[in-house]
Amino acid sequence: MDLGGISITLLLASLMVAATPILLAALGELVVEKSGVLNLGVEGMMIVGAICGFAIAVESGSAALGFVAAAIGGALLSMIFAILTQYLLANQVATGLALTLFGLGLSSLLGQGYVGIRPPAVEKLNLGALADIPFLGPVLFNHDLMVYLTLLLCASIWAVLRYTRAGLILRAVGENHDAAHALGYKVVRVRIMAIGFGGACAGLGGAYLSLIRVPQWTEGMTAGAGWIALAIVVFASWRPLRVLLGAYLFGGVTVLQLNLQAAGFAIPVEVLSMSPYLITIAVLVVMSAPRKGGRSRAQLSAPACLGRPFHASQ
C-alpha cells in the first residue's frame, strides 16, 4: 500500500520495531509505579541493559543469552535503587536521577572494548503462511521474537493487574501502603520485586536497541528513550494497554516524520521533529483536564502512594 511515495506497509512494520524498546521500558516502569515507587532511573537501567546484553551476546555468540544478561543487568542496577529507597528511605526522585547518571557512566566503562563490533544477528521469526498474507503479513508477522514477547508481556501485565491476587496486592501496596501493611502484606518486599521487574524490562528495552534496532554499541545510545518511557506511563494514566498505544503512537510519529522527509514532503521539518512531543503534551493536557468532581483523570488514576516512602514504624 502506498501513500504519496511512502509505503504504509513498511512504515507500520518499522513502527513496531521503533516502539518496542520504549514499550518494554514503559511496561516495567508501569509495574514499579503501580507498586507506589517512582523510579526515574529508567534511562540508566536501559543503557546498562544495552551494554550487558551487547557484551554477553558478542562473547557468547547468542543474542538470546544477551537478552537474558540484559534483564539481569537492568535488575541488578535497580537493586541499588531498591536498597537505597526501600531500606535506607532515600528520596526516590533524587535516587532515580542518580541511578541514570550512574548507569550512563557504568555503561561507557563496561563498553570500552565493544565499540565498532557487530553483534550476532537476530533472525526474524518464521511465521510461515502468516507472513504471506497481503498487507497484514509484512506489517504484523515479519518481526523478531522480541516484538511478540513484548506484546505478550503487555497483555500479561494487564491480565495480572486486573484479574489476579498478585496484581491486587501490588495495586493495594501502591494505593495505600499502610492499609496493605495492616493486612499483613510485605510492602517493602512487594516493592523490591516490582523494582527488580522494572529494571529487567528496562534492561531488555536497552538490549533491543543495541542488538536489534541499531544494532551496535555506542556510548549514550539510548539518547533519552528512558525519559520518553517515563512520560508514556503518565500519558497512559497507568494502564498497560494505553502504554502500548502511547509507545506505538510515539514510535509511529518518529518514524513517520523521517519517512515523510525521505519521500520529499514539503512539511516544515521542525514541526515534524517536535510532533511526537506535541502530541504527548496535547494528550496530557486532555487527560489532566478536571472532571466533574474537580479532580483530573490523571490524578485519579495515579497510584495514591506514588513516590511516598514507607517504613513499618510510621
Binding site: R213, T218, L258, V269
Partner: protein, 363 residues
C-alpha cells in the same frame, strides 16, 4: 588567640595557598575541552578527544587536560564552560557549532582565559575560531557516490541547518551530479548530532525510498550498521574512519585530524604567543584526511577520487568552482570563478542550496 591575629594568620595562610596554587598553575597549563557527544561515539567527539590525548602525549607533565562529554548546546553549555574557566583552565576548546554564543558570553567574563570555538564565526580578543574544510572531503565522497549509485538516489542524513552542513550537502551534490546527471538527493534532517536509534531509522527510511548510497552528517556509526543490514548500500565514515565497517558498506571516509592544531595552540598559550585568529584548513594542511578507499570501489573511480584529493590538496582545484547557480536559478559563481570564504555569498555563511537540489532548507 585574639581575633585580629586569627584573621591575620588566616589571611596569611590564604595568601600562601593561593600563591602556591598560582605558581602551580603557571607550571601546568590547564586545557579544557567541551564535547557535544560521548568520547566513545566513534565519530566527531572521538576525534576531538584523540586530539586532546595528543596534547597530553606532546607536553606530558607540563599540561593537565580536563573534558566534559555530552554537553547540550544551550544554557547548560554556558554553565559548563563557566565552571571550566572557574576551575583554572588556561585555554578551553568548545567543539560544536551550538557552543558559539555561550563561548562568547563566558569569554567576556574571563578575559585572561583563552577560548577556541570549533566551526563558529564569532570571535573576540580571547576567542579564536577554527574549523576544517570538510566540504573538500565531501566533494570526493560525492564523486564516488555519483559513480557508484545504481538507483541514482542518494540519501543524506543531515543534522542541523547550519552553514557547515549545507556546504557539505552542496559540495557532495555538485560532484555527484557532475559525474552522473541523473542523480537525486533525498535529505532527511534529524535535528541531532548524535542519536543512534534515530540515525538508524533515518537511514532505513532513505533506503526504503530507494537510496543505495547514504551520506551522513551525524556522529554515530548507526547508519553504517543499517546499511549493512540492507544489501548493496554504501556509506562513508563521518569525522572518523569507521573502518570497522570496511570494505562494505563503508567505502571511504572523511577523517578530522585536530591533533596538530591542538598541540600548536596549547603550545602558543605556553610560550605566550597565543592570539585570536581564525583557522580554516582542509586536505592540504592535513586537517581533513580521506580514509582508505576500499576495494568495493572500482579501480578507475578510486583513481579519479585520489586525483581529486591531490588537486584539492595542492590548491589547483577548488570544490566550489563555477559555473554554479543557486537553487532558484540566480547565478552564484561565473565560469571558472571560485567561491569566497567570507562575504555575502561566502562559504562560511552558506544558507542556500545549489541548483538541482529539490528540497528546501528548513528555517
Amino acid at each position: 588567640m585574639k581575633r585580629r591575629t586569627l584573621l591575620a594568620s588566616a589571611a596569611a595562610a590564604l595568601a600562601l595557598t593561593t600563591g602556591a596554587a598560582l605558581a602551580d598553575g603557571h607550571e601546568k597549563t590547564k586545557v579544557g575541552f567541551v564535547y557535544v557527544g560521548p568520547i566513545g561515539d566513534g565519530g566527531w567527539t572521538y576525534e576531538h578527544d584523540k586530539g586532546r590525548l595528543a596534547v597530553e602525549a606532546e607536553y606530558g607533565d607540563k599540561v593537565e587536560t580536563i573534558y566534559q562529554e555530552s554537553v547540550p548546546e544551550g544554557a547548560d553549555a554556558e554553565r559548563v564552560i563557566t565552571q571550566m574557566a572557574l576551575s583554572g583552565a588556561d585555554i578551553i576548546f568548545t567543539t560544536s557549532f551550538g557552543y558559539m554564543d555561550p563561548t562568547i558570553n563566558v569569554a567576556k567574563n574571563f578575559p585572561d582565559v583563552k577560548f577556541e570555538h570549533a566551526t563558529g564565526y564569532k570571535r573576540a580578543d580571547n576567542v579564536s575560531t577554527y574549523s576544517a574544510r570538510f566540504y573538500e572531503g565531501r566533494a570526493i565522497q560525492g564523486h564516488i557516490a555519483g559513480k557508484m549509485t545504481k538507483s541514482n538516489k542518494i540519501g543524506y542524513i543531515a543534522s542541523f541547518p547550519i552553514p557547515e552542513v549545507i556546504r557539505g550537502i552542496n559540495s557532495a551534490y555538485l560532484h555527484a551530479k557532475k559525474v552522473n546527471p541523473d542523480v537525486e538527493f533525498n535529505i532527511v534532517w534529524v535535528y541531532t548530532w548524535f542519536d543512534p536509534a534515530k540515525e538508524a531509522d533515518a537511514a532505513n527510511a532513505l533506503i526504503e525510498q530507494g537510496a543505495d548510497v547514504i551520506l551522513q552528517h551525524t556522529d554515530s556509526t548507526a547508519p553504517q550498521a543499517a546499511a549493512q543490514k540492507a544489501d548493496g548500500v554504501i556509506t562513508f565514515g563521518q569525522a572518523s574512519d569507521m573502518s570497522e565497517y570496511a570494505p562494505m558498506p563503508r567505502v571511504s571516509s572523511i577523517i578530522d585530524d585536530w591533533a596538530p592544531y591542538y598541540i600548536a595552540r596549547v603550545g602558543a598559550v605556553m610560550d605566550g604567543t597565543w592570539e585570536s585568529k581564525d583557522t580554516w584548513d582542509g586536505i592540504g594542511a592535513g586537517m581533513v584526511a580521506i580514509g582508505e578507499i576500499s576495494d568495493a570501489v572500482p579501480a578507475d573511480v578510486k583513481e579519479e577520487a585520489l586525483a581529486m584529493k591531490a588537486a584539492l590538496a595542492d590548491g589547483s582545484y577548488h570544490a566550489f568552482t563555477g559555473p554554479i547557480n543557486k537553487q532558484d536559478g540566480t547565478p552564484w559563481l561565473a565560469e571558472g570563478e571560485t567561491a569566497a570564504d567570507f562575504g555575502d555569498d561566502g562559504l562560511a555563511g552558506m544558507n542556500f542550496y545549489v541548483e538541482g537540489i529539490t528540497a528546501e532548507i528548513p528555517n
